[in-house]
């Protein structure tokens, strides 16, 4: 799989990260080398193997439906750059 500049810019846009022109070349080289590394997995024949979403052979942990509201509004908002009337405040976004 080849990561060209166009897909790199799209990926940046989806993650809301701006990628400057001078960084494009290096970044796509880096990403491609990562992909090449991972591509080695393709050499293994998996015809007889069911797709797996997790390599741990365990059951999913579950919990009971009990309320435990430990975190205060103050804690939750503590790292918010902007807050007002107990809301997070962000630049206007209307979709």
């Amino acid at each position: 799989m080849e990561f060209d500049k166009k897909s790199l810019l799209k990926l940046g846009k989806l993650a809301r990260i701006s990628i400057s022109e001078d960084k494009l070349n290096n970044l796509s080289k880096d990403l491609n080398s990562i992909l090449e590394f991972v591509d080695q997995l393709k050499e293994i024949n998996t015809d007889q193997v069911d797709p797996t979403s997790n390599s741990l052979n365990q059951a999913l942990e579950v919990r009971d439906d009990k309320v435990d509201n430990q975190n205060s509004t103050e804690d939750v908002l503590e790292n918010a750059p902007e807050k007002e009337m107990d809301f997070f405040v962000v630049p206007k976004v209307i979709e």
Partner: protein, 480 residues
């Protein structure tokens, strides 16, 4: 008018319903799910997506999804997988929603709806569990958006239909039916005003015989009225475009509840690229056969079965049965009243008089000012002839205002109906004796006067005489 505009066109409608699971805590965290709490007061560090937090799934939510699946006659998947649906938005702190993509917990099923052409089966494609997002408020400030994460992480069941509906009415019936089933099961409270159940509607139009048209998705409809109006508007819009030689763009649209119009939200070019992948924080969910069987055995009687039973047991018409079973509380109320009473009379009083009072007062049956026991007492007094139907209406109004019981009001107002034949006979004799001229005219063929005699007798009894007995007796006496 709707039919006229749309005549000559096929409508193809598919619906995604988002139903909030009736759980106390969230899908992957122990934060409460109460509606209307103070902003950001029900947010754990998991819901706020602080680094290093791990989701742990709520067992109750899994049960509710499976129960709902059983209620929708659907296949329960013994293995399902949670995936990350990636998109960037300010009310989604994780940057992804935990959802299910290729392997949902519930597979194909169906529900049956009533249409003008009889029963119709609407296919269900799947039901999966996912997290709700937070809430953005755009109108608090001209330059900023305010975010409340209380809803973030609440468990939703997304129920996806097949594109089997072909009119706005069928679409509304389908949502009604699904809502009713979930409410009977107790898996979702179905409160549309509070957003516990909302629908995204996919609409396309095409000429009969032609291939399917391009569809548009209208997001977030939270009432039956809006679902209907949005589909009508959208179908007309698409037909107009095609008739003008233009084409329909595949896009997501929003319905403006004020103007009744839909407007474009994002087009296919800006469509999200969700880059789904299995959530590495969550193992696959596997369900045990015995556990599923246990849930199957716990499923209560559902609306279709209750309808069937009401028709057989109480000889209700399909129409009346439908009205009564469409809401769980109504069918329970009806069953409370109908026990050992005349079903026809009870049906009339529940769906007629009681409903009209509730409508007038804008109340749901759970908040009815008249309990099922009180209505039963009223019906008893009609059945045993103590009061007439007309008097009963008066008593019901009074019951509603004062909260007093039927008997108490009947006694207070001296309303009880006279059904004693001897007593009524003397009234009738009195009327006939004091109107000899009219009796003569009647006997000479002026039969219209019959009503006059009945009216006089009723007047004399202050409206209390049993009208049927009065009629019978006057007829008998005048023919002597």
């Amino acid at each position: 008018m709707v039919a006229q505009m749309i005549e000559g066109w096929n409508l193809v409608i598919g619906i995604e319903i988002h139903a909030q699971v009736n759980s106390k805590s969230k899908l992957f965290s122990s934060s409460p799910t109460d509606f209307g709490s103070k902003p950001n007061s029900q947010v754990s560090l998991i819901d706020a997506a602080m680094p290093g937090m791990l989701p742990v799934i709520n067992k109750f939510c899994i049960e509710q999804a499976v129960k709902s699946g059983i209620g929708l006659n659907a296949k329960i998947n013994k293995k399902s997988i949670f995936d990350r649906k990636n998109y960037f938005y300010q009310d989604l702190p994780q940057g992804y929603q935990i959802s299910q993509y290729k392997d949902p917990i519930v597979g194909e099923g169906f529900v049956e709806i009533e249409t003008e052409n009889g029963q119709k089966k609407i296919g269900v494609e799947r039901l999966h569990l996912e997290q709700d997002a937070g809430k953005s408020l755009h109108d608090q400030d001209p330059n900023f958006t305010f975010v409340d994460l209380n809803r973030s992480g609440i468990a939703l069941m997304e129920i996806v239909s097949k594109p089997d509906m072909s009119s706005p009415e069928e679409a509304v019936e389908y949502v009604r039916k699904v809502r009713s089933i979930l409410r009977y099961l107790g898996t979702c409270d179905g409160n549309m005003e509070q957003g516990s159940l909302r629908a995204d509607v996919n609409v396309s139009v095409n000429k009969p015989g032609n291939e399917l048209g391009t569809r548009c998705e209208i997001k977030n409809l939270n009432s039956f009225k809006f679902i209907h109006a949005a589909i009508v508007y959208e179908a007309k819009r698409q037909i107009k475009l095609i008739e003008q030689g233009e084409s329909v763009n595949q896009e997501t649209r929003l319905f403006n509840t004020q103007s009744g119009e839909t407007r474009s939200m994002r087009s296919k070019e800006d469509a999200h690229d969700y880059r789904y992948f299995p959530d590495p924080d969550l193992l696959p969910l596997t369900l045990d056969d015995d556990w599923i069987k246990g849930l199957q055995d716990s499923i209560p009687e559902l609306p279709d079965q209750i309808k069937e039973r009401f028709i057989n047991e109480y000889s209700l018409s399909s129409y009346d049965a439908n009205i009564i079973v469409s809401d769980k509380a109504t069918s329970e109320y009806f069953e409370d009243v109908v026990k050992n009473r005349n079903p026809k009379l009870v049906t009339t009083w529940v769906t007629g008089e009681l409903f009209s009072i509730l409508n007038k007062k804008n109340l749901i049956i759970e908040d009815s000012p008249i309990t099922s026991k009180q209505l039963g007492e009223l019906v008893d007094n009609i059945e045993n002839g103590k009061i007439s139907n007309r008097q009963a209406k008066e008593v019901l109004e009074e019951m509603c205002e004062s909260g007093k019981g039927a008997l108490e009001i009947i006694d207070e107002k001296g309303l009880s109906q006279i059904s004693d034949e001897n007593e009524i006979e003397s009234l009738v004799d009195n009327v006939l004796n004091s109107n000899p001229k009219n009796v003569k005219k009647y006997k000479n063929g002026k039969e219209k006067l019959f009503g006059f005699f009945v009216g006089e007798a009723m007047k004399l009894s202050k409206g209390k005489a049993n009208p049927k007995i009065v009629n019978d007796l006057i007829k008998k006496k005048l023919s002597q």
